[in-house]
Structure formats: C-alpha cells, structure tokens
C-alpha cells in the first residue's frame, strides 16, 4: 500500500498529507489484560491495521523446563494461565503421565476433573468480569468476583494456595479432598445457576450490550480453524471441537455434558458459548461429586519427586521419602526415548504440551502450545476494519492471558 493512499471501508483517500493516526495501546492500558501491546493505525476511529506485540512477560519456561525434572517443572505451569492455574496443572500432569505411561487412580481422576472445572469457572468468571467492565458494565465485574472469591476460598481449603496451586502431581493429586470441601462445593453448585442468571439480567438482553457485541469481530468457521483458534473462541464460530470430547482425559468420559457452539462467530456468540459452558461446568462438578469413588489418590507407580537428571543415575531408597505419599521409582524403563503431544481443554482453549524425552528424568524439549499466544496472533485479523471500541470488545472476547502467551 503506498503511503499516501489508504483504503477504508471501500473509500480510497488520496492526499499527500494524509497518514494514519498511530496509537500504541498498551503495555500499560486498562483494557489489554496484562502487558499486551497493540500498535493501532487509525483512520478516524476505524482500525486500519493492528499489530500485536508480546513478550513483555517472557520468562523462558521452555528453557527452564529443559534443566528441571518433570516434577520440578509442575509449579512453572501455574504461572502460565495464572487465573486458572489448576487447569494448567492438570494439563501438564496428563501430558507427563502419557509420556511416562502412568495410569491414574479413579478417585484422582474425579478430583482432577472437579478442580479443572472449578478452574474453568474461575477463568470464565474473570473473563466475564473484565469483558463486561471493558464494555462499560461495571456491576457485572463485582458480581463475578463475588462467586470467584468463593471458588478461590475452596482452592485454599484443599491445597492452601489460592492462585498458584500446584495441586496435581505426576500420577495423581498431592492431597486428598475432605468431605467438608465436597459439601461446600455442592452447596455452591446448587446456588450457582441462579447467579449466572443474575449476570444475564444485567447484560444478556441489554440493547447496548447487544449493539456492542453482535456483528463485531466476526470470524467464520474456516477462518477460525485456519487461524488455530481453540476453545470457546473457536466454538463461537460453530466448530464443534472440544478436547474434552475429542481426546477425553481424566473423568470426562464418565460424565455427561454438552459442548455449546455458536453460529455467527461474533463477540456475542463467543460470550454465549462461555456462559453456557459455565452451566455445563457446574453440572460436571455435580456429577463428579455424586460419583466420587473412594480409593487412592496417587498411582502406585508414580515417580518420585526426585527424578534422575541423567540416564544412568540410580535413585537410592531414602528413608525420609519412602513413607507417606511419595513412592520411589523402581521401574528404570519408564524414561524412554520418544515424544508425545497431549492437550487439555483449559478455559482459554487447547493447552498442549509437546515433550521430547531422551531417557532422563528431565525433558529434552518441552513446548507449550499456549492458546493465548495463538489468539493474540489472530487479533490483527479480527480487529481489521473495526472501531477502537470494538478492539476492546474483541480482546475481551478471545480471552487472553499474557502469562500464558509469553511463557
């Protein structure tokens, strides 16, 4: 495009003095959800070009993981999507378990499914809160935080941490849940649908909300798949792809749930998908609590926290570790050459871990397929031709977290 010729909404403007108004939105901006930076080129308020810049939060998790054992990397997964860290823990654990060939006990599977859906609720509640706040509905924000607070309190009850949980471990979960926790969670799930209805009274039929969201940031099914969108962002476009259904893990094969899909692929459909997903998560949690079996919470052959850094290194039977939940590794054949890619459905989309193992207790290469990274890449496509206010709505609707994007 020549510099003095800018096309906008089909109108060609030829003017020597004409140049687009550039504006740097972020990294410090109230609506970019972290340290996302968008370079916008504007014609009036219409976005001609949107260039996302990321990497402000890059900590080199993948390089760190190459120098830490599988068990030591687990806490790093908290710091990916830090508003739903339970889901990352589970995703990481199932990937390592697949690599090592460990079968998890049924009770641990149910517990993980519960915490994963709780994480989905916390993630979606924070998404709804901030999305509504960006569009200007301030009350929804505080309503959502009321319920999110309850969920975080329950996380605190089972593991002691509210955000960076590190609850799962390879081969199960670190600590059993109590009856009190299950009761309070069940009471929460009984109440929660009415709370969702409360949010919807404020925005769902609101004409301003509909005007701001319908027909904005449209992405068709083919484009969405080609862009690599996943999760509710993809399903809003009408593509029925959910890792929980396509590649079931943990207790998802045993529970009955539906995957809500949209049709138009605009901001409103993505919003509806997430709202319906909250209902489904609620129902999954209830089913899991009702079917919670007794039994061990950690696989018999789960690896020790102390993993061999080298191939040849023997793990000595240590008296301090041989009692309690931690069992020592006997099977030396577990660490074998090979690679796996395992994904899980986290609130943002498909969180995948690609491991290359060379036979040590340390991954030779770990790659994180972070949904936020792909979604931010799609922003330049989604924001083109929209208005500045729509950019905010689109960022909210693809639901990104920069901790996960920058890794």
């Amino acid at each position: 495009m020549p510099e003095n010729r800018v096309e906008s909404k089909g109108i060609v403007k030829e003017d020597i003095a004409y140049e687009p108004y550039t504006i740097a939105m972020g990294p410090q901006h109230p609506a970019t959800h972290g340290v996302l930076k968008l370079n916008l080129e504007l014609d009036g308020e219409t976005v001609l070009k949107c260039t996302p810049h990321v990497g402000f939060l890059h900590r080199g998790v993948e390089k760190l993981a190459e120098n830490l054992s599988y068990a030591q990397t687990l806490p790093l997964s908290d710091r990916l999507d830090y508003i739903a860290s339970m889901a990352n823990n589970v995703a990481y654990s199932i990937a390592v378990e697949r690599l090592l060939g460990i079968e998890v006990p049924v009770r641990a599977k149910y517990i993980r499914t519960i915490v994963m859906e709780m994480a989905r609720l916390t993630g979606h509640l924070l998404w709804l809160a901030t999305h509504a706040l960006d569009i200007g509905a301030m009350t929804v924000f505080l309503y959502c935080f009321r319920e999110r607070e309850n969920l975080l309190d329950m996380f605190e009850e089972i593991i002691g941490a509210r955000l960076t949980t590190s609850y799962t471990c390879i081969g199960g979960v670190r600590q059993d849940i109590t009856g009190h926790f299950l009761e309070s969670l069940y009471a929460f799930t009984e109440d929660f649908p009415s709370k969702i209805a409360e949010y919807e009274t404020l925005i769902d039929k609101n004409r301003i909300w509909l005007k701001r969201t319908q027909g904005v940031g449209i992405v068709t099914a083919e484009e969405a798949v080609s862009l690599g969108l996943t999760g509710p962002t993809l399903r809003g476009s009408g593509v029925d792809y959910d890792v929980r259904k396509h590649m079931p893990y943990d207790a998802y094969p045993y529970v009955d749930f539906e995957v809500p899909i949209g049709s138009k692929g605009d901001v409103y459909d993505r919003y509806r998908c997430r709202m319906e997903e909250m209902h489904q998560s609620n129902s999954i949690i209830r089913q899991c609590i009702e079917a919670m079996p007794p039994g061990p919470i950690r696989a018999e052959d789960a690896p020790d926290l102390v993993m061999p850094y080298g191939v040849q290194k023997e793990v000595a039977a240590d008296a301090t570790f041989s009692s309690g939940v931690i069992k020592l590794v006997k099977d030396r054949h577990r660490y074998m050459d090979g690679d796996v890619y395992v994904a899980a459905e986290v609130p943002k989309g498909e969180l995948g871990f690609y491991f290359v193992s060379d036979g040590r207790g340390v991954p030779y290469r770990m790659h994180i397929r972070a949904p936020s990274f792909i979604h931010i890449a799609a922003l330049s496509f989604l924001c083109k031709g929209q208005m500045v206010a729509d950019v905010i709505a689109v960022i909210g609707s693809v639901d990104v977290v920069l901790g996960e994007c920058d890794r």
Binding site: V54, H58, K63, V225, L227, G228, Y241, H367, R407
Partner: protein, 193 residues
C-alpha cells in the same frame, strides 16, 4: 483413519521425501525431508479422506550431538472432522537452516513460525512477517538452541550501560544518602561468576 495408515499413505505418495514412521505411546509420527514439506502438508490438509485442518502445534527441536541432522520442525496435526492425529517432523540441517513456511495453508502458523525463528533461528521462507516475537528485536542468539549458554557468559544485556549512566544522573535527587555504590556489590557478583 488409523494414523499408521496415514503414515503408509504418505510413504507411498512421497517415497523420496519419507524417512521413517514410528509409534510412541500410541501416537504416530513421521519423519520427512524438508524440501517438499509444504506440498506434503497441503496434501494432508486438502485430501478429503484426511482433512488435517487443525494445526495444533508447530515447534522446533534442537538435537545437537544427538542426531545427524541437528534441527527438526515438528507439526502436530489434527483433523477436527475425521478425528485423527499425526505428527510430521521435518529435518532441517544446521548448514541449511531454513524451511518453507506453511502460513498459506494455516494462517495460524504465522506466529508459531515466528516463535520458532526467534528461539531456534530457523528461517521460514515466504513468511509474510518474519520477526522476533517473544524476545526484543535486538536480541543476540537463539535461546532454545542447546549450545546457548545458560548463564549469559558474563555479558551485559544491551542497554545496561545507558541505565547505569541514567542512575548516576539521578543521584542528585538522593536527598537522604540512601544510595549505595554498586561497584562494591559487583565485586561479589564477579567472584560468583
């Protein structure tokens, strides 16, 4: 379709490109040469029986001193309508560190390839916008290469001198004498290094 069958089909169709197929933890991968990678992937994407329309992941792997060919670019493909999965690994030798871009097949490959270029230094031909994505533009080296030093080798990051200069300038606002000379601490740090 069973993944092993797909692997067989790829071998039959591109025998000169095909190197090997393997199965690990019931996941099937194929290793191919890099020269016709776009053609192979386009066929996997377009063939009505395969329809690998979801590029789940694209990343690089560095096999320094482990394999003859140093780099690999790994494409994890999934077919949403057919529900099958295949991993394609393209070998990229160190002396010819480039591969063709697949952004024309999947738009979403854009940033994956930028990330791979950023962290491994593998160049993607025909890429629309090949810049660093996670690291600053003036960064030297590619951190996920196995020969990248873990401790930075005592080198200061670019812009360090400017920050030191600025802190000297700002010392005039130190009304309470809180400033401590960094050179004293730097001596300890050097000893550790």
């Amino acid at each position: 379709m069973e993944p092993l069958e797909i692997a067989k089909k790829v071998r039959d169709r591109y025998p000169s490109e095909f190197i090997e197929a393997y199965e690990h933890r019931s996941q099937v991968g194929i290793v191919v040469k890099k020269d016709r990678i776009v053609e192979i992937l386009r066929w996997l994407h377009d063939d009505p029986a395969l329809q690998m329309n979801h590029l789940a992941d694209l990343c690089g792997v560095d096999y320094l001193n482990k394999k003859k060919v140093r780099f690999e670019v790994v494409y994890n493909l999934y077919s949403i309508p057919q529900r099958h999965r295949l991993r394609v690994r393209a070998q990229v030798p160190e002396n010819d560190c480039q591969i063709n871009s697949v952004t024309e097949i999947w738009m979403g490959a854009n940033w994956h390839e930028r990330e791979c270029f950023d962290l491994f230094g593998i160049t993607f031909n025909n890429h629309p916008d090949l810049r660093r994505v996670l690291l600053p533009d003036e960064w030297e080296g590619h951190p996920l290469r196995k020969d990248y030093p873990l401790d930075g080798g005592g080198k200061r990051w670019s812009g360090y001198e400017e920050v030191v200069e600025k802190s000297k300038k700002l010392r005039e606002y130190d009304f309470y004498g809180l400033y401590q000379d960094p050179t004293k601490k730097a001596g300890q740090k050097d000893a550790r290094e």
